[in-house]
């Protein structure tokens, strides 16, 4: 018998964008690399994670829980019974199968947390294969900020569900700040309750290969989600972010903004923005945007927004994607006010990231993010000899010719 999830008759729409959820590994065969969902990922660099070997290695957990929040261990079956979002790809299915149970973090209903809920996960070696299975259950009308950071090194494959109750307000930040050799396959799956609001921010700086999913579905009408992302790929790094927003309830909203920069040979970023608007999802509003800034030669930024619409009764749906070197119009505007080219570049770059960092809304993190971005930038772009030339001959040079 197939172990597909039970869904009410008629509501199962096989999206062209995302495979259906299933706990059965047979439904998620090992990829060849030609599959739509795998074609951007260099499979070799996953270093065998998808073989699904058992492993009892773990990351070091350092937690800071606001008063009232509890943490416990549950079985995989219990996690499933809680209504987590089932695995829709092999890594998530493997994580559930191999993690030997899930960590459940419970935020009680109506709890308004003053302090962020912080979980720092740290590994010691990329030889360690670590499976992770987490469930955050946020009760109705609770308000909480959840920060999950990843540092050190590991081959880490995890699935995390956020079950957000009615009217709750949740900010989630997942920070991938790994050492250079880490490999991370992660899936954050969010169920947005009726009239709940969720902001999810995924930030990837470190690691050899990071492939993060952010999936959203709605447990009732009126839910809002905002999905933000920030990434900075250096030489040789592969940073991939895949979004799937499943508008499966009426009057729901989603707003996606991912911004990334690339520098150095072989820096590769992938952004896939899938939005499905189901027949039932009348009156919804969605917008997604991805912007990439290519700072040097030899980088590759793939950006694919997909919008699949099954009802015409929507408020609005749109997407935008742009990958460019510096915006010449912005540079011209600043320079026409006397600002030197180098200073104009610095301002534009700063602005590019600051624009997103200020939206994250976690003050304790903003400083750290700004500092990391500064550090990344200082590796390259402020050294004039490494700055990619902008195709911008001055009029003077032309006139003199």
């Amino acid at each position: 018998m197939r172990d597909a999830l039970e869904v009410p008759e008629g509501s199962q729409v096989v999206s062209h964008l995302n495979p259906p959820a299933s706990y059965d590994l047979a439904d998620h065969p090992a990829p060849t690399g030609r599959e739509e969902v795998w074609r951007f990922t260099p499979l070799k660099r996953l270093r065998g994670i998808l073989d699904g070997e058992a492993s009892d290695a773990s990351l070091t957990w350092t937690t800071s829980l606001p008063e009232g929040v509890t943490m416990s261990t549950i079985t995989a079956q219990e996690a499933r019974d809680l209504g987590e979002l089932g695995p829709n790809e092999r890594p998530a299915a493997l994580a559930v199968a191999n993690a030997g149970g899930a960590v459940l973090v419970d935020v009680p209903a109506e709890l308004v947390a003053d302090e962020p809920l912080v979980i720092d996960l740290s590994g010691t070696s990329a030889d360690d294969l670590v499976w992770g299975h987490l469930v955050f259950r946020v009760g109705h009308h609770a308000e909480v900020t959840i920060v999950v950071t990843h540092t050190g090194s590991a081959r880490y494959c995890a699935t995390t569900s956020y079950l957000v109750g009615e009217g709750a307000q949740v900010d989630v930040v997942s920070l991938q700040d790994w050492d250079d050799d880490a490999v991370h396959l992660g899936r954050d799956a969010i169920s947005v309750g009726r009239d709940a609001r969720v902001k999810h921010t995924s930030i990837s700086f470190g690691g050899d290969l990071v492939r993060m999913h952010a999936n959203v579905s709605y447990a009732g009408p009126g839910g809002e989600s905002e999905l933000l992302g920030l990434y900075f790929a250096d030489e040789g790094q592969h940073l991939e972010h895949r979004l799937f927003v499943d508008h499966d309830a009426p009057r729901t909203q989603s707003n996606v903004l991912y911004k990334g920069a690339l520098q150095g040979k072989g820096a590769h970023t992938v952004w896939i923005g899938n939005v499905l608007i189901r027949k039932v999802a009348e009156g919804i509003e969605t917008y997604e945007e991805n912007r990439n800034l290519v700072l040097t030669d030899g980088c590759q930024a793939d950006s694919v927004p997909n919008l699949e619409i099954e009802t015409g009764e929507i408020e609005g749906a749109g997407h935008a994607s742009a990958t460019a070197r510096f915006d010449d119009q912005q540079l011209f505007y600043l320079r026409s006010r006397g600002v030197t080219e180098q200073e104009a570049r610095r301002l534009v770059l700063h602005g590019f990231f600051h624009d997103l960092i200020r939206k994250v809304g976690v003050p304790s993190l903003e400083e750290r993010l700004t500092a990391t971005v500064e550090e990344e930038l200082s590796k390259n772009v402020f050294r004039a000899d490494h700055v990619a030339p902008v195709d911008q001959p001055t009029v003077a040079a032309e006139a003199g010719a």
Partner: protein, 258 residues
């Protein structure tokens, strides 16, 4: 003193930029002569596509435009050999028709950075904040705009007022206003015009006002009016020329050309 002198200016643009053609360059300005002296306000009027904005952007040094012949000097100094930012530091200012949005850079940061670049030193903090607030209040912009990203989410009128704030604070020698009146309602048009008139009232300032319509000339009185058609001046006169254009339009000039 401030004298902007444009002589026999020819400017071309890469044809592919304009119409996907493969012919290389398309000539837009075909010999422009214009001298703006201290205290003078010149209005350049012309139909769409005549090259008015090209003239403005060429003076500012936009990389899209290539000067193929002629000269531009400010107080005798060659402007064309200067980079975009050098031109601004030399005393040229271009108020743009479509001011550019710069996400994540606050108006306050932008203005201070520009002022520092123009003056060669950071403005004194105490007087600077006062100056910024005063400049914003004069164009009836809420001072809260200082904390917003440059032009981001501004209405058309707010963007133009922000240009006037910059004109006021950066205090150039010559201001080129490229269709600053377009898209403004009557209140905003008056506010923007008052800003230009305040600038004009200072000693030794030149203004080049590029416009499609005569209505802004009811609020800013030009000393000279030039009619611009197909990349060159076809007629010059005093303010009365604007009235004639108001009555008869550009047809006469466009037909004469054809």
């Amino acid at each position: 003193m401030a004298t902007l002198e444009i002589k026999d200016l020819h400017v071309a643009v890469a044809a592919s930029d304009e119409d996907g053609g493969t012919e290389g360059f398309k000539q837009i300005l075909k010999g422009v002569d214009l001298t703006i002296r201290d205290g003078e306000t010149h209005a350049i009027m012309g139909p769409n596509g005549s090259g008015k904005s090209t003239l403005a952007y060429s003076i500012a040094g936009h990389p899209k435009y290539t000067v193929t012949q002629g000269s531009v000097t400010l107080d005798g100094v060659d402007v064309l050999s200067m980079s975009v930012d050098e031109r601004a530091r030399a005393g040229l200012f271009l108020a743009m028709q479509y001011p550019v949005e710069v996400p994540g850079v606050s108006v306050a940061n932008f203005l201070r950075t520009a002022k520092t670049a123009i003056d060669g030193e950071a403005p004194k903090l105490r007087t600077w904040v006062k100056d910024v607030n005063a400049a914003m209040e004069q164009v009836k912009m809420d001072t809260a705009f200082a904390q917003r990203s440059v032009n981001e989410g501004f209405s058309g009128g707010e963007k133009k007022r922000h240009e006037i704030v910059q004109l006021e604070l950066l205090d150039p020698k010559v201001a080129v206003l490229d269709e600053t009146d377009s898209g403004l309602d009557i209140d905003a048009l008056k506010i923007v015009s008052e800003g230009v008139n305040r600038f004009k009232a200072n000693a030794d300032k030149g203004v080049l006002l590029i416009t499609h319509y005569t209505r802004i000339l009811r609020y800013i009185t030009p000393d000279f009016v030039h009619v611009f058609v197909d990349g060159r001046m076809v007629e010059q006169g005093g303010p009365e020329l604007a009235d004639e254009l108001e009555a008869h339009g550009y047809d006469k000039y466009v037909t004469a050309k054809a």
